[in-house]
Amino acid sequence: MKRLIIALPAFNEEKVITSVLQQIKKTIQKLSDLDCEIVVVNDCSTDKTAQIVRQNKVTLLNHKINRGLGGSLATAFVYAQSKKADCLVTMDSDGQHDPQDLLNVINPIINAQVDVVIGTRKLRQMPFDRQIINGASSFLTFLFFGVWCSDTQSGFRAFGKKAINLIQLKTQRMEVSSEFFSEIARSKLVFREVGIKVIYTKYSRSKGQSNLNAFSVLLKLFMRLFR
């Protein structure tokens, strides 16, 4: 039986984490031919996120200090490697992603068609400022790493065994979304985009990447090129 790990990086998500986990649990009940494990990487939340995750009886990986989105995803990768997972899915824990899309995202991996799947949001689904930021990020990612993806900032991704073992994340914060593409290029991984639904709420928008942060992300990406 193939092993699937669904990892959710979480920082202060006490308001929504239970509902997100319940929805994912409901969805994976349909995946009876897979050995599924839900993992929450609690990035040193200051609220009751860890406590709530424990109550939901899913795997909890606790960061002692806050390491950002990149750090949390790196932990998810190391855990997936240690568990010899066949597929690792990363999802946002703010309720932005619809677990119903899980099957679409993992299918190309389970059927060994590609190494990485990126769940891409349609441009018109996004608020206007996000369209601009995402468009610029995609262009710069292509410029820096030579890989084109219409939504490089999407947090809904799936990775096959080869990708789990080859991807080495080094960035700490939001720039990790673009770093995946430098890793895809470096390890010559095959990737595919799959359309996903996205649920923007006031809450999820407040939790996401701030527009002002885009410059810092760009600078860090640029620095990576000259390391």
């Binding site: 990487v41 795997t59 909890l60 990986l61 606790n62 960061h63 002692k64 200090i65 390491r67 990149g70 750090g71 790196a74 932990t75 190391v78 855990y79 240690s82 080094k170 700490q172 860090k220 620095m223 000259f226 390391r227």
Partner: protein, 119 residues
């Protein structure tokens, strides 16, 4: 010393102080030999340029800059920006090391929890 301007004397004293700090740090084992060599040579060169300002003018002419002082300022700025960049890279690498440690602790704790619940 009569031929030296007060600014030359002040700068030279500061450079002696800076060079002495580099020697102290390498003696304490806080910096590598390569690092010591780089900074010590830099301060010695700067000291030489302060004592013999004419030497910088000679160098400036060779590379097409009018005054020796300008050449020193240009070179210093380039060096400063490069060192700032290197410092940033070192900080990023340190952050990465901290993340690796945080990851290892998180996974180790999870395994310990599993072992405890198994027992």
């Amino acid at each position: 010393m009569d031929n030296f301007l007060p600014i030359q004397i002040l700068l030279f004293i500061f450079l002696l102080f800076a060079a002495s700090r580099v020697v102290l740090r390498v003696k304490e084992g806080n910096i590598s030999f390569g690092f010591f060599l780089f900074w010590f040579s830099l301060w010695i060169l700067a000291g030489f340029a302060i004592i013999n300002p004419g030497s910088t003018s000679f160098l400036a002419k060779q590379i097409g800059i009018g005054r020796g002082t300008d050449a020193v300022i240009y070179a210093s700025l380039v060096l400063l920006f490069y060192l700032l960049f290197r410092t940033n890279v070192i900080i990023e690498n340190l952050k990465h090391e901290i993340t690796k440690l945080t990851t290892e602790i998180a996974i180790k704790e999870k395994k310990e929890d599993e072992n405890t619940s198994d027992n």
